[in-house]
Symmetry: C2
Subunit: 335 residues, 2 copies
Amino acid sequence: MAGRRATINDVASLAGVSIATASKALNGRQDVRASTRQRVLAAAEELSFQPNALARGLLSGQTRTVGLLTSDSAGRFGIPVLLGAEDAFGAGEMAVLLCDARGDAIREQHHLRALLSRRVDGLIVVGESTNPRLSVSRDLGVPVVYAYGPSDDPEDVSFVPDDVGGAAMAMNHLIALGRRRIAHVTGPEHYKAARDRVAGVALALSEAGLEQAGDTLWGTWSQRWGRHAAEMLLMAQPEIDAVFCGSDQVAAGFVEAVRERGRRVPDDIAVIGYDNWEVLSTETRPALTTVDMNLELLGRTAAQHLFAAIDGRATPGVHRMPCQLVIRDSTASSA
Amino acid sequence: MAGRRATINDVASLAGVSIATASKALNGRQDVRASTRQRVLAAAEELSFQPNALARGLLSGQTRTVGLLTSDSAGRFGIPVLLGAEDAFGAGEMAVLLCDARGDAIREQHHLRALLSRRVDGLIVVGESTNPRLSVSRDLGVPVVYAYGPSDDPEDVSFVPDDVGGAAMAMNHLIALGRRRIAHVTGPEHYKAARDRVAGVALALSEAGLEQAGDTLWGTWSQRWGRHAAEMLLMAQPEIDAVFCGSDQVAAGFVEAVRERGRRVPDDIAVIGYDNWEVLSTETRPALTTVDMNLELLGRTAAQHLFAAIDGRATPGVHRMPCQLVIRDSTASSA
DNA sequence: CGGGTTACTGAAAAGGGTTTCGAAAAATAT
DNA sequence: ATATTTTTCGAAACCCTTTTCAGTAACCCG
């Protein structure tokens, strides 16, 4: 804690040069004799000089800092996106200002103002669900990229998981395994994620010329609902041979109830989950086949596109990022 | 995106005053006529003027920004601490620079330098476990508070959960319920959290004049280990009437295996977990009694103490934050 | 009407770095 | 030796805000 922090002035006087020369030497510019540069570098080292990012930013207008605005970072989905973004930024020498609005619009405005006054170079807005959210980009003056939850303004840049594709991928896997009486148990209808997956299911079924086994069962994203749905389904349609669940939680509950009823997974009924939430998907018995939304990659991609947008190369629109099927025992071939 | 951003200069000319007057008017200082202030405020509003935090920080030497350095924010424990801290800072108009070192010392140094060059007012270091970690405070020039994982330097300020007290609290609950043959299944011995809880168990047992049922079973923090431990335990010591598990994951596996063996929870065997990881503790059947480490509160407290430290009122040492017992069905009175 | 207050206002400096431009020094050409 | 070019260096402006300090105008009182 050596009292005051060293400035370039201190470095310059210790090296016996002007601050202009010191600056050039430190930043690797031309027009500095090698021996002089050597002296300046040594002086900087001795004083453990760190250029003041505030002064630098004030002059250049670039803070090399981005804001990360999340509505609900407590949620499972925000975190991986956030980590992916942080990772991409860290590699690019960018710093991340984290703001959690806790789903409160007032707080969001407040954070937005704070970020703007700190002159961030750009902004990533991480949604709490894949439902479109109000755009904040209007008149903001800095580029914004939306991740997970897209903006409602098509002019904005958004990155979301391709839930339609993910669901279709899961269904195609079941169909390829020879399952023909496939049910679909999912979460609340007001989630776009749930509706998109319904669309993906329909797509895959119609391509295969199949009918869904019964109506889609809407519920909650909970294990409890998975159990309940399993009980209803085994009663009403005991002939089903596969179920696509809207989340790993639902799938975990479903599997548990199926086993308790004396039916086997995957032999009698194959089960697929969604999210690849590893604490759940790998710990259930049998381990869950599930759809991974690659959220960390999504966050990283969003961050990279924010870089591009900062450089003036924005790519407006909603970009759907492919999901990935992770195959485990709950759909193992009943060979 | 109105081209350049408005400066106080623009506000001043629009209001027809000098920049000094504008500044005073905006900051609510004396020596400005009410009508003049009114005009300035209107001008600022019209230009949507936001004072440049860089210029302000450069002058005052205070950035109203703190660094949050985590080793592993992917972990379950870092997140709540982080959220609590972010919450406390947000309320105090502070901004949070998030850095995740991913457990890499080089990356940590790099982030540390970046934070310092941005002139953060303080730093919170969030550990990935409660094992003590290398101090970063030496010669840093800004106050540092450690959360969850304490610093190895007793001169530093650290906040950690009181695992000894938490474990004792759990055991006392079992003892109060009349259980007398209590076993302890926990995670790897190289975790200080596991060792502390062993100490808490011993404390509670000796106070009650009881012996532990068998040796402590060390394993991993997984559900798999919980199941395995249950199988071993039911074989070797079928007389046990309660188990204290080192985590909710272990407890969930334990409960599952116990039920499969035809023994009832809590009637035959009461089970307590640790962490209060709600997706697990509330979804198992029966729902788990568990110890909550109040991590969000811990993060908030750490943040508040960082404020104090920034004001020069540091309170060195390791502060243990009390845990809280959350009682659910897995220890329900078998009345 | 002059002296002493009081109420405002504005010029200027400071904070730390980068960059431009001009000047000095050194090297080369004439 | 002088003229010209090249290299190296330093003074000063600039980024934006806050704050100090000096100055102006209005006001009150004698």
